[in-house]
């Protein structure tokens, strides 16, 4: 061990959630983690921040520092070995923070990465208050053992060709690969794939926990099987297959609307559930907000978010709490409640004044001067949902910009002329101004 091992940086979203790769799924969260290089009396800190949030994914360990909005990572493939937890009964160890020691592979320049030529031992120190080291270790080993990063890697390889016997990671790969030559090589490769697929199915169905973690693979499997059924022997199978395919289609469609492959669940995040959910929600809500013109009702967000999660649906209370937490973080969205009680989510940059300016100019068009503006008129012109348009009209009314007109035709709004009328001169209309514009528009039409 000559130099201090370095960790590559990891990218975060604007809500301080790790940016996941395709196929990467979040597995466990642990707050209050430090990383030290091993040995000697004075351990060196390996992270430029303290007490980070450790996010264990199927592919990496990501150490997130929310205060500085930065993160570092260790690829799971770079972990050669995780030492078992020491069960020491000394008084000192009872009060010390639990530690997990890992042997990691280091490249020539000192960065922790797979396929390094050297190795080093580092220590994960768990300083979080309610950390149970055994639970953490169990989960960590589970993720490490499942080696999902290899599955993605080999899936990529399988699709590109049949050449070579390369494997995903040199040091850790325990599979035996044989040289692939000729037709027999092709057949053997196919056989290997089917065997591993079969094993996958068995593993998955034995253990529900494992099924959850294999969810992504199951989707891929379902897709492959569906393709197979569609192309071969579909005629002879008859209608029973249509049903199967129908339900597979349903499942696929359902999962297709997934925008989130790593739903934050109470299982993966534990005590941090609401915090992480809140951040994930802030990320998610950006695209729908843009499409809707900067404001969406909370009800709509509830539907969209749950549909995207697919499973592990959140309750309305969870959603409310998640939105309420936004005040504590620096996220670009906020929740807002209108006087009528309607709750919406809007961009912090949303400007009420801008909306009022647009409403005001809409209300001064000749048609609006004659007949007023209904919520659906406003929705159409402003390009927003009718419920929101009504909220905006009501807000404009309470600001004194508009007046309401209730009649058999329903609720409509007119530009407020009351302020333009001079009580001492009610019969005169000044030649310029709003009152005159209104008068012209309404008398011309008769």
């Amino acid at each position: 061990m000559t130099s201090i091992p370095r960790l590559p940086t990891a990218s975060l979203t604007t809500s301080c959630r790790p940016v996941f790769f395709s196929g990467e799924v979040e597995r466990y969260l642990l707050p209050g983690v430090d990383l030290e290089s091993d040995g000697s009396d004075r351990p060196t800190l390996l992270l430029p921040f303290q007490s980070s949030l450790l996010v264990i994914t199927s592919h990496r360990l990501v150490f997130v520092d929310e205060a500085s909005s930065s993160a570092r990572e260790i690829a799971l493939s770079a972990i050669i070995h995780a030492f078992p937890l020491k069960k020491s009964m000394s008084i000192r160890s009872m009060f010390a923070s639990p530690r997990v020691r890992l042997q990691v592979s280091i490249s020539n320049d000192g960065t922790i990465s797979e396929k390094g030529t050297k190795s080093s031992v580092i220590t994960l120190v768990m300083r979080g208050k309610n950390t149970d080291p055994d639970v953490f270790y169990g989960k960590f080993m589970e993720v490490l053992r499942s080696r999902e990063w290899e599955l993605t890697a080999s899936a990529d390889q399988g699709s590109t060709g049949l050449e070579g016997s390369s494997s995903a990671s040199g040091v850790n790969d325990l599979r035996i690969t044989m040289p692939v030559v000729g037709v027999s090589g092709i057949l053997r490769k196919e056989q290997e794939i089917w065997e591993s697929t079969d094993k996958n199915l068995q593993d998955a169905f034995q253990d529900l926990n494992a099924l959850m973690s294999k969810a992504k693979e199951m989707v891929q499997l379902a897709e492959k099987m569906r393709q197979k059924l569609l192309t071969t022997g579909s005629n002879s199978q008859g209608s029973s297959n249509d049903e199967e395919m129908g339900s597979k289609q349903d499942m696929q469609d359902w999962l297709l609307s997934v925008g989130i492959a790593s739903p934050v669940t109470k299982e993966t995040a534990g005590a941090l559930y609401h915090q992480q959910l809140s951040r994930q929600l802030a990320d998610f809500v950006k695209t729908p907000l843009e499409k809707a013109g900067g404001m969406i009702t909370l009800v709509d967000v509830y539907c969209l978010f749950n549909r995207a999660r697919g499973t592990e649906l959140i309750s309305p209370e969870d959603l409310l709490q998640a939105c309420a937490l936004w005040e504590k973080f620096d996220v670009p969205v906020m929740m807002r409640k209108f006087d009528s009680g309607v709750k919406v989510i809007q961009n912090k940059s949303h400007s009420d004044d801008e909306v009022f300016a647009r409403i005001s100019s809409l209300a001064q068009k000749p048609d609006a001067l004659r007949k007023g503006v209904s919520p659906s008129d406003a929705a159409f012109t402003l390009g927003i949902a009718p419920a929101l348009a009504k909220e905006h009209l009501l807000s404009a009314e309470s600001r004194g910009l508009l007046c309401r007109d209730v009649s058999a035709e329903g609720l409509r709004f007119y530009i407020n002329l009351f302020n333009e009328i001079d009580s001492a001169n009610i019969y005169t209309i000044k030649s310029h101004g709003l009152l005159n514009a209104w008068h012209l528009a309404t008398t011309v039409s008769g």
């Binding site: 004194g400 009649s407 009351f418 009328i421 009580s423 009610i426």
Partner: protein, 179 residues
């Protein structure tokens, strides 16, 4: 310009929100002010002393824009006049409202001025004469509500400017003004 009988209606009479009770406080205040003035102006012009909420009052609807005031709105505007001392509810149920487009005190002053200008001091007039007689034709007194007139005369009596007494016929009373 639209008219209601002889009365000229202001332009905003055709503004639909004028006929909907406004919820926003500032807007409501403005609206109430305009209605109070309009009711008084119209009543003065048409010599209307009583508005009954159980009957249609022409000022309270505008057929050309198909709008009328709701019952609640009428009560709000009339109550505002009552608060100002320009109207009085005649019944507990607030169905009939006396409109004082001239206050009782103002009527008393008007009568006194009229009496002086026409040198009617020391003369005797019946109440009915004052209401519909030859002398008062063309003045505000013509067609004045009897109740209002009596109250004004009583006010003058209290001030020592007039004396009311029972007349020759059972119904009528007479007034003698003093200088």
């Amino acid at each position: 310009m639209q008219k209601l009988g002889e009365f000229k209606l202001p332009p905003f009479f055709n503004y639909p929100p004028y006929f909907t009770l406004q919820p926003v406080r500032e807007t409501r205040e403005k609206q109430v002010q305009l209605w109070k003035d309009l009711i008084l102006d119209f009543s003065r012009n048409q010599k209307i002393f009583l508005i009954s909420l159980e009957e249609d009052f022409p000022l309270f609807s505008n057929p050309s824009i198909e709008r009328s005031l709701s019952h609640e709105a009428k009560v709000v505007f009339l109550s505002a006049l009552v608060t100002d001392g320009r109207a009085e509810w005649m019944d507990k149920g607030h169905k009939k409202c006396l409109i004082l487009w001239m206050r009782i005190q103002d009527w008393a002053d008007y009568i006194l001025r009229f009496v002086r200008e026409n040198a009617l001091e020391d003369g005797v007039m019946t109440v009915e004469d004052i209401r519909s007689g030859f002398e008062t034709r063309g003045t505000e007194l013509a067609g004045i509500d009897r109740g209002v007139l009596m109250r004004a005369l009583k006010l003058l009596e209290q001030k020592g400017k007039a004396v009311i007494f029972k007349g020759s016929s059972a119904d009528d009373e007479g007034v003698k003004f003093s200088a």
